[in-house]
Symmetry: C2
């Protein structure tokens, strides 16, 4: 963290993001130069996000933090549930693209200096392994406690304060501090590749405690080299929305276009 | 391979090493500047190595290749089975140290220019994952199709011609060419960490075909950076045996010493 920050906490209403908010809110009380706000994305996932957003709102009210909510419905015209009825894509792929897109764009408009997310050691470990098992090493270069390779004024730096905390540790903290939502899990997760990797890693960790720490620590040793290798990847501005993108048309605009085409048919 | 080679094929008598021998023997017939010999290490594993060495001898006789056999019993005074009754160590750890030690020393004495081993894609994938899950990234820098980081005149370069062949592919080749031994497996394997990693990888490959290829291909993209990072590790000569070592006393002499001390008690 720099001397003066306006941190945006990316809130889902789950235990991880509520823990980050609680920790950074306590920190900001000791340091008047750190200002905290919250941002949440309502993807429109029936019987899940509505519940976690209610938790998020209540907690933000309780600690007097402003919560900014943006929805897929309002920004893109459709909820995620509606999109998934139209497009034949994996839920987490399209959801991730739209969420990161809104998170970055709206955080910039809100003048956040950084975005803090609730990603923990388990999440990172899964991402490392997923990229490796899909031979997507370039994506791993963008992982780490400070996300990204190339600095771009249109990109708001994302940070992961819980990077070295296991999911168990975060859950314990959240439980003790009364932050724990009722163990909700996104209904799309079970269909994801990530869930299979998560189960495999949990099995290995049970048999060989320390496995997850080792994977992340091994990764942190190679990360500076990966960032160096991929630092020459250029960042363009999407020709449609002007948001930063590695391609001429960003992934979000690509899917918005696809949804329109399918809807018009 | 360079223009003139005296290749030593490290033979266990299993399908992988017999396949390498068969392939390189065929190659050498087309190229008179490539000479082939075989080397085998008899660790002294009852009811296993005696059988595979019989297969190895028969095959070498059949194709008129000289087979040089060195045993733990003769070189160190004890078989592996005897060592394991004395020392409380993992079988594969101590066995690997002594085998690599003899393989290098005897290959140098036999004036081999390179040692070819039967390691396949599955073996490499397991090693990559083991090092990662034990946070042993320096060991990964020594992996790859051409083993090692630092060149040393006392180290005989080890190469893995089957590096990109899966275990299934090698087994198929060995079966079709009549090289297949009766699926013997070292009795110590089931106790090893490697076996657990192997099972995990097989499960992932079954669910997501291509996983093993992706892991090795991802690894090959980072390997040059890892070699660069660890190239400054110095190679010493072991004060006891003068063989190359990263420590003052090499691992082989360390365990020989330990065995002596325990035996004397």
């Amino acid at each position: 963290l720099d001397k003066e920050e306006h941190l945006g906490i990316a809130l889902s209403g789950g235990k991880d993001s509520l823990t980050v908010l609680n920790l950074l809110n306590n920190l900001s009380k000791q340091n008047p130069k750190i200002k905290i706000s919250a941002i949440a994305i309502d993807e429109g996932i029936h019987d899940y996000r509505d519940k976690t957003l209610k938790t998020a709102k209540e907690f933000c009210d309780q600690i007097s933090i402003k919560l900014n909510i943006y929805s897929y419905k309002k920004e893109f015209g459709l909820t995620l549930d509606e999109m998934l009825k139209i497009l034949n894509v994996k839920p987490c792929t399209i959801c991730g693209i739209f969420r990161r897109y809104l998170l970055n764009k709206k955080s910039r408009e809100l003048k956040f200096t950084k975005i803090a997310t609730g990603h923990n050691l388990d999440d990172e470990c899964q991402s490392i392994m997923m990229n490796q098992m899909k031979n997507n090493i370039g994506a791993s270069a963008r992982l780490g406690p400070k996300v990204g390779i190339v600095k771009d004024e249109k990109f708001i730096q994302r940070i992961k304060p819980l990077y070295l905390c296991t999911e168990k540790e975060v859950t314990t903290y959240a439980f003790i501090n009364g932050l724990l939502d009722n163990f909700t899990e996104c209904p799309n997760v079970s269909r994801s590749y990530r869930a299979q990797i998560r189960d495999m890693l949990n099995q290995m960790e049970n048999k060989f405690p320390g496995t997850k720490y080792s994977i992340v620590n091994s990764f942190l040793q190679t990360l500076p080299m990966l960032k160096e290798k991929f630092k020459h990847e250029s960042i363009k501005a999407c020709v449609k929305c002007k948001e930063p993108s590695s391609k001429d048309v960003c992934n979000a605009c690509h899917y918005v276009e696809k949804l329109k085409i399918v809807c018009e048919k």
